[in-house]
């Protein structure tokens, strides 16, 4: 599959024949995928196809039973989730996971990765620096809040947000960090049409203006069609087919897979 890609920007992530089983059940079966810098790749497929499990394997939340994941040129198959994140891979979850009892602003401020003020000693010996860094993160958080249209709820507890706002908050949280790849697991699920527009604009803007790279699992085909540079269809743990959205749409197998599952 990687061989058939046109020469262009280098791949930021390459998973090769990655598998994962739960007992005797094979949830992900020799999945391979490659995402190049600046791409927005869609990963679609019926419920239970193994998309979220595949995300867990890419982000290190679960270990693959076999296969290899290379990120930005380095083999990360055995790295912990936090080390992967520090290399620049960020993700959201299908069921949004916000820090419930923290404010929206705090959810953003916690995200930047290595913060001097997270260690004890600098709180006493390097106060000025800690404050300066905090100030920078605060300014960044304000920008991100504006982009995600969450300014009016910045001091609300994250648990008080609507489902759609929680999705936006999760995406917003990833923007606090300099990332090389963002994995979004159903960012549009349960988001109302108005917020969907914000979400879609946000992703588009991040790619066009900031050169961000995305791999997106999504059921909303309008979102996939409008955003994705290429699409991979997954069914029963495997790649069914991949190509442009138009190619995919006309594929017989894809239609079957979707009609067979609960699309």
């Amino acid at each position: 599959m990687t061989g058939s890609q046109p020469a262009g920007p280098r791949p930021i992530i390459e998973a090769t024949e990655v598998s994962r089983n739960f007992g005797a059940f094979v949830a992900v079966d020799r999945m391979s995928i490659s995402v190049r810098e600046g791409e927005i790749v869609g990963l679609i497929g019926p419920n239970g196809a193994g998309k979220s499990t595949f995300f867990n394997l890419l982000s290190g939340v679960m270990r693959p039973s076999r296969g290899r994941v290379v990120f930005d040129g380095a083999d990360i198959t055995k790295l912990s989730p936090s080390k992967r994140a520090r290399l620049g891979m960020l993700r959201t979850f299908q069921l949004s996971r916000e820090f419930s009892r923290m404010t929206v602003l705090e959810n953003l401020l916690v995200a930047p990765q290595v913060q001097l003020g997270e260690d004890l000693l600098p709180l006493f010996t390097r106060r000025r620096e800690v404050d300066e860094i905090e100030r920078r993160h605060f300014d960044r958080a304000k920008e991100v809040l504006a982009i995600a249209k969450l300014e009016h709820v910045e001091n609300n507890r994250a648990s008080d947000l609507s489902g759609g706002q929680k999705k936006l908050l999760e995406l917003a949280r990833t923007l606090m960090v300099d990332s090389k790849l963002i994995l979004l697991d159903e960012p549009g699920a349960g988001v109302n049409p108005a917020l969907m527009k914000t979400l879609s604009d946000m992703i588009q803007m991040l790619r066009n203006d900031h050169g961000k790279t995305f791999l997106i699992v999504e059921h909303d085909m309008d979102l996939i069609a409008s955003l994705c540079t290429s699409v991979t269809v997954m069914a029963e743990g495997r790649t069914l087919v991949s190509g442009s959205f138009d190619e995919i749409r006309q594929n017989r197998q894809v239609l079957d897979a979707y009609l067979g599952g609960a699309a």
């Binding site: 982000s59 290190g60 939340v61 912990s80 989730p81 936090s82 080390k83 992967r84 994140a85 520090r86 960020l90 993700r91 979850f93 996971r97 916000e98 820090f99 419930s100 009892r101 923290m102 404010t103 602003l105 705090e106 401020l109 916690v110 995200a111 990765q113 290595v114 913060q115 001097l116 003020g117 997270e118 260690d119 004890l120 709180l123 006493f124 800690v130 905090e134 100030r135 605060f138 304000k142 001091n155 507890r157 949280r173 960090v177």
Partner: protein, 303 residues
């Protein structure tokens, strides 16, 4: 009467130290600790033995007690850090009992059930014997103030924020790139150190420590203080520790008013009273008397 109040206040101070430590571990970070008595005993015996048996200066002995608590905290967090949350509950409970059983069954160093006599006291001879309890109270207040300031500094800093994030959702913290285990070990160690200090201060105050003081019950009183006061909030637990101590001590006087209630019933009654307080709190004000404050950024008002 004044002597009694001074002594009561000193004991409230010990409770406050333990509660500040538990709030760092559980209130802010979500790490359960049922072995508070173990840390308390470890600090008490470390300082007691080093000063009374090995002749170390009291100040130095107390410092070693803090280090012992620190090391025990780090070790327990490391041991259970990679396991599920519930393991920490079991591990800490086990730790508390092991410490107590070692003290009880060891004869030469800890003096076992006879109890350890500690003649040494910090700053002894600085003031007259009558005024010494007041000086000691001052010392305890100072320790509480320092621990409180430390905890409050952590709570307001990015460090407190990352701890809260770990409390809310450890997995998300790790996919954001946070070194979760390192943060957990550090805060559990800091809490352990404060508990060790509380134990040392207790030992040199009562001057006679025995294993029967360090029952798992201690943990319940401290948990009560933090829950009633408001987990995650440092002011609340000061109030909580005061309330719990007043309840515990106040119930003593019931014996004077109602002499027909014997001592055994009375001590059972205290526990019931504490239980009722907990249930009422959880029903009426689950977030505690003074809930965790909602975060405000110091830059927010300026912009």
């Amino acid at each position: 009467m004044l002597a009694y109040i001074v002594s009561l206040a000193t004991f409230v101070g010990f409770f406050m130290l333990l509660a500040i430590a538990l709030n760092l571990q559980w209130g802010m970070t979500g790490m359960v600790n049922f072995g508070i008595a173990g840390f308390y005993a470890l600090g008490a015996y470390t300082s007691g033995i080093l000063s009374s048996k090995l002749g170390l200066p009291v100040g130095l002995a107390m410092m070693v007690a803090v280090l012992a608590g620190l090391a025990a905290g780090a070790a327990l967090a490391l041991l259970s850090g990679r396991l599920r949350d519930d393991y920490l509950a079991i591990v800490t409970l086990g730790f508390g009992e092991i410490v107590r059983l070692i003290i009880l069954n060891e004869d030469q160093i800890t003096e076992g059930p006879r109890g350890l006599r500690i003649a040494e006291q910090p700053l002894a001879g600085w003031v007259s014997v009558e005024n010494y309890p007041l000086l000691y109270l001052g010392l305890v207040v100072l320790a509480v103030a320092v621990a409180f300031a430390l905890s409050e500094t952590i709570r307001r800093a990015p460090m407190g924020r990352v701890l809260r994030a770990i409390r809310e959702d450890e997995l998300v913290a790790s996919v954001l790139g946070k070194a979760v285990l390192r943060h957990k070990i550090r805060i559990f160690a800091i809490g352990g150190g404060i508990m060790g200090l509380a134990g040392a201060l207790y030992a040199h105050y009562v001057q006679n420590i025995s294993p029967d003081v360090f029952l798992p019950m201690v943990a319940i009183f401290i948990w009560m203080s933090v829950i009633v006061g408001g987990a995650g909030n440092n002011w609340g637990l000061l109030l909580g520790a005061g309330i719990v101590m007043v309840l515990l001590e106040g119930s003593r006087f019931i014996g004077d008013i109602a002499p027909w209630i014997d001592a055994e019933k009375l001590s059972a009654g205290r526990i019931i009273l504490i239980g009722v307080l907990l249930i009422v709190t959880l029903h009426l004000r689950p977030q505690g008397l003074i809930p965790e404050p909602r975060y405000r950024n110091k830059f927010q008002r300026k912009s």
